[in-house]
Amino acid sequence: MFEPLYWIIRRDLTIAMRRRSDIFTTLIFFVIVVSLFPLGIGPEPDTLRLIAPGIVWVGALLASMLALELIFSADHRDGTLEQMLLTPQPVSLLVAGKVIAHWLVSGIPLVLMSPLLGVQYDLSWEALGTLVVSLLLGTPALSLIGAIGAALTLGLRSGGVLLALLVLPLYIPVLIFGAGAVEATVSGLGGQSHLSMLAAILVASLVLAPLATAAALRVAED
């Protein structure tokens, strides 16, 4: 059962490695958005420390949404997606594989880059650690939830805008608990409970999102 999953992940990673520019656009977008705020607000460490969690998280959210369109659109255009719907494998399993590959390519770089950006905001080591953990739990949930929106807007003309309108409201819980975890650490309360909630959201979306996405893909290919 897991062999097709492995092959889908391998396939998408191979393709991503052969067109690396897509990875870097997302990452650079994230870096620029997050770096703009200190420039606009001014170098007041107390203010920066206060707004850091929210800004890094909103930046990650927007960057991850930007990358969403890429999950299915190329496969839709060249017909590999309709072939996936016609294999004897469960479509939700293949969807899960595609989302995992997508997260490895677009989510992991954000996680790795975030401590560097956190330093700009004068976050403590402890807060940086929480930031990384919260993104590590949060970004895969973003990819999973976003995949539903990407599948629903597949092939539509103004799909990009519609995708944002569909997906951003669904991202709110992840944002609240993600940024909340870092804030709680900054204020000395400890981010444990927020991180647990994030993990719960991740598990729930891991179970439910591929099923919803698979159903949406069947509609999109109709």
Binding site: E3, R11, D78, G79, E82, L86, P88, P90, L94, D222
Partner: protein, 216 residues
Amino acid sequence: MIDANTEPSLQIQALCCVRGDRVLFRDLSFAVQGGELLHLKGHNGSGKTTLLRALAGLLLPESGEVRWAGQNIRSLREEYSRHLLYLGHLNGIKGDLTAVENLRISSVLDGLQLSEKRAWEVLGEIGLKGHEDLPSKHLSQGQKRRVALARLLVNRARVWILDEPFTALDVDAVQLLQEVIRQHVANGGVAIITTHQEVAMIGEHTRTISLGRADV
């Protein structure tokens, strides 16, 4: 589950498909048995592709149903896909992957084991010798089509649904493909194809259905 011993057949019952607000065909009923080749004819826009997509289960018909071995394909889903190979207008290959990678991945997804060596052999058979490890985006249209058609040589599906399989192919490839289809039918498989070319096909059990006229 489908009983392996029953004669596989595809039954189409009172099928009606609508595109936009135009009825492409209604009350279409026929059956295809194993060992039969069905040639769908019709002018552009008569609904051939729509019918094929409905037969493959990609498209939900307005009414009526498609049955495989007596059961609606909507309820069979993956169980039906196991017996099906559909090739549409799109080749379904990734331009960034090589021919070998494309073939191996589609085989794994079809539930088959295909060694790297065997993939090279098959691609050689279908006339892609020397192009096996080039990214497919650098291949010509006809060569891309051949990569897609290479699946026919490894697949063990009972039902082949081929939408314009001869497009972009040269004379040699057309002959090869005809031979492959002929063998598949001779082995008891079902083949449903559309083509505009007059192809001197293929054995005794060829049937033709014309879409787009009252005499369907």
